[in-house]
Symmetry: C2
Subunit: 194 residues, 2 copies
């Protein structure tokens, strides 16, 4: 890892980075228990362990003052009526923000705080989303092409995936009459009920 300034080119469309340090590929199996319609999930998984999303990370020291960045690509598709989405996470250091710049596609960012606030913001090209400290976040592709975003967060933030894996998000985004709709998550588990 260099300590000199460096540049990285993004080649659109297709989204090829001239450099990345890590490429994460998340398939259906890595999202076990996260989709609402478990029957549809099982049928789909038996056919193919489909690729849901990818993340290209640019590594830096994981300390305060540094910035971690990269690209996420959520592919189009649905499990039952629920759109393909990322695992979603809190930051381990709760008091850290994140910024997303959407480069391509359409989607939703579903967010919530430990205190019970929730928000869903629409994602589209050339829109910046600010996720304040304390807000868990999950990106969802509600469109028909790849949802591509550039993200930046503080080097010391860390990831807490476990909380969302256990309790889910309070809200889901599903397709109803061909349109994205925000619904309550019937499988949501209050932290006290775990």
């Amino acid at each position: 890892m260099t300590n000199k300034p460096f540049s990285i080119d993004l080649t659109m469309p297709g989204v090829l980075l001239s450099h990345h340090d890590n490429h994460i590929r998340r398939t259906l199996t890595s999202m076990k228990g996260q989709f609402f319609d478990q029957a549809a999930y099982q049928v789909m998984l038996e056919r193919e362990d489909s690729l849901l999303y990818e993340v290209y990370e640019i590594h830096r020291p994981e300390i305060s003052g540094e910035l971690l960045s990269g690209f996420s690509i959520v592919h189009p598709g649905k499990v039952g009526s629920e759109y393909f989405m990322t695992k979603g996470h809190f930051h381990s250091v709760l008091e850290t923000a994140e910024i997303y710049y959407t480069l391509q596609g359409r989607g939703s960012m579903v967010m919530e705080t430990p205190e019970g606030d929730w928000a869903v913001e629409e994602l589209c090209k050339d829109r910046i989303l600010y996720v304040p400290p304390r807000w868990a976040h999950r990106s969802i592709n509600t469109g028909s092409e790849d949802l591509v975003m550039f993200f930046v967060y503080p080097g010391n933030a860390g990831h807490d995936y476990g909380t969302i894996e256990r309790q889910g998000f309070r809200k889901l985004v599903v397709e109803t009459d061909g349109q994205p709709q925000i619904i309550d998550n019937p499988r949501w588990t209050a932290p006290g009920d775990r």
Copy 2:
């Protein structure tokens, strides 16, 4: 200032933000003493106090864990043979990084550390530039259209403009035979000579 997630749209070209908290306009007068060719600077200033660059800031609390972001637009032009550029600065908290995403135009980022390292990285559309902690940075428009960049840095970074105002950068970017060229700054003042 909200503590809920929020979105901001960028309308290209022309670069209109759907929301910003502060709009900074830097003209020739604010760059007194920074351009190499002082005679050309004076002639130009007597004609018009030209607009060199603009910054649209999105405000957040200036604390660790938060992210400050916005857009900078460096207009095309030259003072003598030296391209229009930003004031340039160190972060007050030296151990803080910055990320630039170039959306339009062509340019150079001139950078240096207090220890004497220097670097010049080329800026072009869809290129990400990582400025590590400790590196002062100045963006320069070497092209014929606006240089537009989205930037993100840690909330607690702060700005130290004074050091660069006193000593300048070690390197300049000037036009030679129609091409950008990196040269030593003959007016550069070593910190000990201030």
